[in-house]
């Protein structure tokens, strides 16, 4: 059974179409990336899934049913707009949020203990939220999302504002939960994170789906026709449109996409004339590249 399905979901605010005829299908036990640039309609889509906004048209089914309070109890949601009751103490706050999700007090106490331990916040359980650092507050909100052991967790930009140590911690927890059979929808505009974590992805741009499916298959379809080059010197060949269709240059590291019919070996020979080559590799295109290409194609 599909965990989540959207069919022809449309939402507009005044004259702006935020989401247009969106179809989504999320299976169980995977991490599903809902990807797109800022303003693509990701948060609006998620808010409609959570029944915070009503779609103008279309149908949203969670676990095969329309949204209801018993369905919502099986979903965890980390909103992009973070915030907690600042004056409340950590433990009563978590109890309150657990109660909102229909949890019994005893069960909640046990889960709260487990999660505070897991996120190294046990020492802060009797402190007021406002006494916690921003990172801690964010971890607290992450706990609130998973507290009631949801089957589906929807995380809207979970990594923003976290330091590398905590990003790693959140990533670990996501993978643990996935192993336990929890499905996760990860909404982000950071392609590097999504590329490493997601099994399935859906790219949306300006409210429309431009690409979706299994990430491995998508990348395989594009083939190993990208070149990663580490170099020193002036890479003038990059602007030669006959050889290079597009590139992503970082000064010493560049991802090159040859124009149609151009043999990568040709590019290697040309590059060798202009720069010192430290590394040359044929790779699958990065998600970032696929995304940019797909969106550009849509614009044409």
């Amino acid at each position: 059974m599909e965990l989540l399905s959207l069919r022809g979901v449309t939402k507009s605010f005044g004259r702006i179409d935020a989401v247009k005829e969106l179809d989504l299908r999320v299976g169980g036990g995977s991490i599903y990336g809902l990807l797109g640039p800022n303003g693509a309609g990701k948060t609006t889509t998620i808010r409609m899934i959570m029944d915070i906004l009503a779609p103008d048209r279309g149908e949203i089914l969670i676990l095969g049913q329309p949204n209801s309070s018993s369905i919502r109890d099986r979903v965890g949601y980390l909103p992009e707009e973070r915030g907690l009751y600042r004056k409340m103490k950590v433990e009563p706050l978590l109890h309150f949020l657990a109660e909102l999700k229909g949890m019994k007090r005893e069960a909640a106490r046990e889960r709260i203990g487990y999660w505070l331990e897991r996120f190294a916040l046990s020492a802060w359980r009797a402190k007021k939220v406002e006494e916690l650092s921003r990172g801690m507050q964010q971890k607290l909100q992450f706990i609130a999302t998973l507290l009631h052991s949801p089957q589906l967790a929807i995380l809207d930009e979970p990594f923003t504002g976290l330091d590398p140590v905590n990003i790693n911690l959140v990533k670990e927890v996501m993978l643990e939960e996935k192993k336990k059979g929890v499905s996760i929808i990860l909404s982000t505009h950071l392609m590097e994170q999504a590329e490493k974590l997601c099994d399935q992805i859906c790219l949306i741009s300006e409210g429309e789906k431009v690409l979706d499916g299994n990430l491995k298959e998508i990348k395989a379809n594009y083939g190993k026709n990208s070149i990663v080059l580490e170099y020193e010197g002036q890479a003038r060949f990059l602007s030669d449109k006959e050889m290079v269709e597009s590139y992503d240059d970082y000064g010493r590291w560049v991802e090159v996409h040859p124009s149609a019919g151009v043999d990568p070996q040709e590019i290697l020979r040309r590059a060798a004339q202009e720069v010192a080559i430290l590394k040359f590799e044929l790779v699958e295109p990065s998600l970032n590249e696929i995304f940019i290409k797909t969106v550009r194609k849509g614009e044409r």
Partner: protein, 426 residues
């Protein structure tokens, strides 16, 4: 329902556990007690020491009469006034007065009274003292002199002062309040006092608790916690839970106050009369239970109406500073009926008062005032409740739509057309 209960519980507990709530709840009766009790206490303390007053009686006939008229004593059995007659040799008045003035300045004397020989014609005496603002002393002296002078005149005309006093004795107007049950209760201005105090409390409570709801909405919105909450429960449940929880805080406060007032009127009466002393019987008017029930009823209904509107205002703005502009007209809606209360107390059944009591925004204060002064026809109470209930229902319907959209909108405060749009989205 269970989820809304969680919201109600949180709203209620976080507020009643706050130190400010406990302090203000306990401090309020103390402040009222202090404001009313302290002057009585101070006055009775002051009067413990007898006042030394010299009297220059140029008629040479009034001093014994004055002494008899000012023989009041304190509770401790001491005289309130110690009077001494000062003889004035002919033509020496200014010298004697200078001497007495000096004594007043040194504090040996509290004051002196000059009764001129022409007092029977001009009807004037002079009192010199450092403090002439003690109205009790002034009143006592004036009463004593008037009484003595008129006694003297009557006797001079060959009449018996005691007999005349009996003959011209005034008639007292006793007032009785006729209530719906056919009972007649003696009333001496207590109705006005009770009405004023209760309506004042009603007005303050509607304002304070309405604003408490608004602040709660703004807090949830500005801290961004609201999106997390409405992903678990319906925005309407959040709003309703908040209104109910804060309302419970209000009822708790009333309950505590009622218990304190109840305890006070049982045990405190003795306390007050013990230090009120000879100031006469001090009546603590009893408040009829039925009136208290009406108070709770109109507070709750008025609160539901105003708290809903305040919740809507909270959802429209981003901060409390922004809310202040929108609050102004809302506060006026409460101030206007409060000001009209004085008219309504005087004319509880005039056409205007009846009309005003049917306007739902005014009903809580105006109708309650009318009930407190003179029980209106039952159908009028009924109609006012129906209209108020209807207004609450309509307001909840409108505001819940605006609220639903507003709590997730950040940025500019909406214009009126935008509000209409929000209403349509909701």
């Amino acid at each position: 329902m269970r989820r809304m209960k969680a919201v109600v519980k949180r709203e209620y507990l976080t507020r009643v556990r706050k130190r400010t709530f406990i302090i203000s709840t306990l401090a309020m009766p103390l402040i009222i007690l202090a404001v009313t009790g302290l002057p009585i206490l101070l006055m009775s303390l002051k009067s413990e020491k007898p006042k030394e007053i010299s009297i220059i009686d140029q008629t040479d006939k009034l001093f014994p009469g004055l002494k008899a008229a000012l023989k009041d004593t304190t509770k401790g059995g001491l005289s309130l006034y110690r009077l001494s007659q000062v003889a004035v040799p002919l033509g020496e008045l200014s010298t004697v007065r200078r001497k007495l003035t000096e004594e007043v300045n040194k504090g040996k004397l509290d004051g002196y009274l000059v009764v001129p020989s022409d007092v029977f014609g001009k009807n004037q005496v002079q009192f010199y003292a450092r403090n002439v603002s003690n109205f009790r002393v002034n009143d006592d002296l004036e009463r004593a002199v008037s009484q003595t002078v008129s006694h003297f005149r009557l006797s001079n005309s060959g009449l018996d002062p005691e007999k005349v006093k009996k003959l011209v004795k005034g008639v007292e107007l006793q007032t009785f309040k006729v209530t719906a049950g056919g009972n007649e209760e003696e009333d001496s201005g207590a109705t006005f006092m009770i009405t004023y105090i209760l309506v004042f409390f009603l007005y303050m409570s509607l304002l304070i608790y309405g604003m408490m709801v608004m602040r709660g909405v703004i807090e949830e919105k500005s801290s961004r916690v609201v999106e997390m909450i409405v992903s678990a429960i319906k925005p309407f449940q959040l709003m309703a839970g908040k209104v109910l929880g804060v309302g419970g805080v209000g009822l708790t406060q009333f309950l505590i106050w009622s218990l304190l007032v109840g305890g006070f009127s049982l045990y405190g009466r003795n306390l007050v009369s013990s230090f009120a002393g000879r100031l006469g019987p001090l009546s603590i008017p009893g408040i009829p239970i039925s009136l208290l029930l009406y108070f709770i009823l109109y507070f709750l209904l008025g609160y539901f109406l105003y708290a809903t509107i305040y919740a809507g205002v909270g959802a429209m703005v981003n901060s409390e500073e922004e809310a202040q502009h929108l609050q102004m007209p809302l506060t006026m809606l409460l101030v206007i009926p409060f000001m009209l209360m004085f008219y309504v107390i005087g004319n509880p059944n005039s056409g205007l008062a009846v009309l005003l009591s049917f306007i739902p925004l005014f009903t809580p204060i105006i109708m309650f005032t009318r009930i407190a002064v003179q029980t209106p026809p039952l159908w009028q109470i009924g109609l006012s409740l129906v209209l108020l209930g209807l207004a609450i229902w309509v307001m909840v319907w409108i505001v819940s739509k605006i609220y639903r959209v507003g709590i997730l909108m950040y940025g500019k405060r909406p214009s009126l057309p935008e509000l209409v749009k929000w209403f349509r989205y909701g």
